[in-house]
């Protein structure tokens, strides 16, 4: 799971360029939705690699909290989905557990789980994407690398969200059979193509979750990353907040930091 973000959630759900909006050529809503997604993706190209630390805060309906801390490393792979590695530091009983993901633009992602107590690498079936990631309100598919090709798009409208003009659009999973969603509605700001809010609709087409993303900061004068992501499950009243810090770009990671050998020596 791309823990987080190769083409980040940011770039992910995306929406598009006004360039195509001309009075002569009448673009369909689907074309415009795709164009916005592609533009957001394009704006995040070239980051190379980055690392970040994350605190995941789980809250139940009664307000009880539980925290996990995770370090993530992401490598951009030209022409394909990103590679990512996520390592758990807490809770202590899962310390050292690591997920390695090779995401792909076409076909299923490849995933492995490393269990430090047994020194065992297990293959995971990435089609179980609608499952909860570590008991959180984020499904595996929410934290996976959001490749443009994994969804189809439809632009809806432009509207202000918290004082920022946004593209509002729908996206539909290509893998309808395994996704937990029938559709997502995304708010992406028209100036920088940052994802600000997503509504997730379950298989019965009712509103399941809302994700809000805050605290964007720009790195290398180009790449936007958020400090906070909050997912609320409307059906259970539970929520999960991801707090990000210590983003470092172009740290020199290569393919060799994302293979079974490096997975077994992960700390």
């Amino acid at each position: 799971m791309n823990l987080f973000f190769s083409k980040t959630l940011t770039a992910s759900f995306l929406f598009a360029p006004l360039l195509f909006v001309s009075p002569v050529y009448s673009e369909t809503a689907e074309e415009k939705g795709l164009a916005i997604a592609m533009e957001a993706d394009k704006r995040d190209e070239g980051f190379g690699d980055y690392t970040a630390n994350m605190t995941m805060i789980l809250k139940n309906r009664q307000g009880k909290e539980s925290r996990r801390t995770i370090r993530s490393k992401t490598l951009e792979v030209p022409g394909d989905g990103d590679k990512s590695l996520s390592i758990f530091d807490t809770p202590r009983d899962v310390k050292g557990t690591a997920f390695l993901t090779f995401s792909h633009k076409k076909g299923d992602d490849e995933q492995w789980l490393y269990l430090p107590a047994l020194k065992r690498v297990k293959r995971i079936n990435s089609r179980n994407k609608s499952g909860s990631f570590m008991g959180s309100e984020f499904a595996y598919e929410d934290i996976a690398s959001q490749e443009v090709e994994k969804y189809t798009y439809k632009h809806l409208r432009e509207e202000e969200y918290q004082g920022t003009l946004c593209f509002v659009g729908e996206s539909f999973p290509v893998d309808k059979k395994n996704s937990g969603y029938t559709k997502r509605i995304s708010w992406v700001d028209t100036a920088e193509y940052r994802l600000l809010k997503v509504e997730f609709y379950d298989r019965k087409k009712s509103l399941l979750k809302t994700l809000t993303i805050e605290g964007y900061q720009q790195y290398l004068d180009k790449y936007w990353r958020a400090d906070s992501m909050n997912m609320v499950n409307h059906q259970t009243g539970k929520s999960t907040t991801l707090l990000w810090n210590d983003y470092k770009f172009r740290t020199g990671l290569t393919d060799k930091d994302f293979n079974s050998t490096s997975l077994k020596r992960v700390r």
């Binding site: 809770p91 202590r92 293959r123 499952g131 050998t261």
Partner: protein, 405 residues
């Protein structure tokens, strides 16, 4: 472990720890220390089949893990373990699980010291995992292992990973003592271990492994030459003392294969090996599937369905094994709650004898750093011809609390 190896291993380990601490004093930047303390209690439902076996043994265990990065690519790891058991002297034991130095570059990696290596794919039976000796008194499932002295070279390439192992010292399997449960009808006296090799415990074992990922398949192929990890138990009958069993460790050559494959929503897993060196060559295999139902009944819960089969061609009675022609089924429920609650329910049935083992493992976190584990096993209809028959009266419930500090 015999007294001999104990003498041999522990001074070396002591030297390692000393070197470790000296190195630490020079740099305290990337130094981690943590570990676990646990207590566990068993409740056996029946009196043991043999005298002196207790029904309510309790034990406590602790381990300490130290990790230090001397440089980005030069790491030291140490893990020491000790258990004290109220009843079984043989289960009161310690081990250095890990004491290794690891150095790596982009093109190769080498580790030296006491290490741990896992090979395998399936869930129920671990057939091909051979580098480390099983710490049999720790767990029935064979997943607890002793630290193995080794020199381990790893060369990752685009076309796969080649690993070479030199294993200079042999670790003997642990066996329950006369007061312990889960034992053979006659106790095993590990101090009377006998070796086929005249070098005994100091035979240098060698292994080479190739592993790779091809499309949706991970596969590994290895050859091992050296001392069998699973001894044959021979009857020792001296006129002056009561009869006991003693382990006999043979020299073997073993070719092994393991694979994990994703096909659609399924995960397929398999292991097999072919062994020579024990009076006749033989083969064994286990394979099966795992299928996960995600978000069952409109909840966050996932239910994994596991089906596996194991076959060992020694089932003609030449050299009986527990897993000779058995079918296994498992249900793994992940609640996906804050406390990471999960329950594993498994059944192992011997097709030929009809002997059946039912096992339940339930676990959840209590607060941030404590886990509670509840395990139970029931041995049903154990056929007297089945080597597992000696477990017939060992139905148990085990409660364990582990504090991760």
């Amino acid at each position: 472990m015999s007294a001999k190896l104990r003498q041999k291993t522990f001074p070396a380990a002591g030297a390692f720890i000393l070197a470790f601490l000296l190195l630490l004093s020079s740099n305290v930047q990337s130094f981690e220390i943590d570990g676990e303390i646990s207590i566990q209690g068993f409740l056996f439902f029946e009196n043991g089949a043999w005298p002196h076996q207790e029904n309510e043994p309790v034990s406590g265990a602790g381990n300490i893990k130290i990790y230090h990065e001397i440089r980005d690519n030069f790491h030291l790891s140490l893990e020491a373990f000790y258990r004290i058991d109220s009843e079984d002297q043989e289960r009161s034991h310690g081990d250095l699980r890990l004491a290794e130095a690891l150095y790596f570059t982009d093109n190769w990696e080498i580790s030296i010291g006491l290490g741990r290596v896992f090979w395998g794919a399936t869930e129920f039976v671990h057939l091909v995992d051979i580098i480390n000796q099983t710490d049999q008194v720790e767990a029935l499932d064979g997943e607890e292992k002793l630290g193995q002295p080794m020199l381990h070279l790893t060369v990752p390439r685009d076309w796969g990973v080649v690993e070479a192992f030199v294993l200079p010292c042999f670790r003997e399997r642990t066996f329950p003592g006369v007061n312990g449960r889960f034992r053979t009808p006659l106790p095993v006296d590990t101090d009377q271990a006998v070796y086929e090799s005249s070098a005994g415990q100091h035979h240098t074992d060698l292994a080479i492994r190739y592993s790779t990922t091809v499309g949706d398949t991970d596969l590994g192929l290895y050859y091992f030459n050296g001392t069998a990890r699973d001894p044959i138990l021979l009857l020792s009958h001296k006129p002056t003392s009561p009869p006991i069993l003693h382990p006999y460790y043979e020299q073997i050559g073993q070719t092994g294969l393991d694979l994990q494959m994703v096909t659609g929503e399924w995960l397929l897993k398999g292991e097999a090996y072919y062994r020579i060196g024990q009076s006749r060559p033989y083969a064994a295999t286990t394979f099966g599937f795992e299928y996960t139902l995600v978000g069952i009944a409109d909840t966050m819960m996932d239910l994994g369905l596991i089906g596996e089969y194991v076959y060992d061609d020694r089932d003609d009675g030449w050299l009986p094994t527990i897993y000779e022609n058995d079918i296994m089924a498992g249900l793994r429920l992940a609640v996906n709650d804050m406390d990471d609650s999960n329950i594993l329910f498994g059944v192992i049935r011997d097709i030929h004898h009809g002997s059946t083992i039912i096992a339940v493992e339930a676990s959840r976190r209590l607060g941030d750093s404590i886990r509670i584990n509840l395990d139970a096993s029931f041995f049903i209809n154990m056929d007297i011809m089945d080597p597992a028959a000696s477990l017939a009266r060992d139905d148990f419930v085990k409660l364990e609390l582990v504090w991760y500090w």
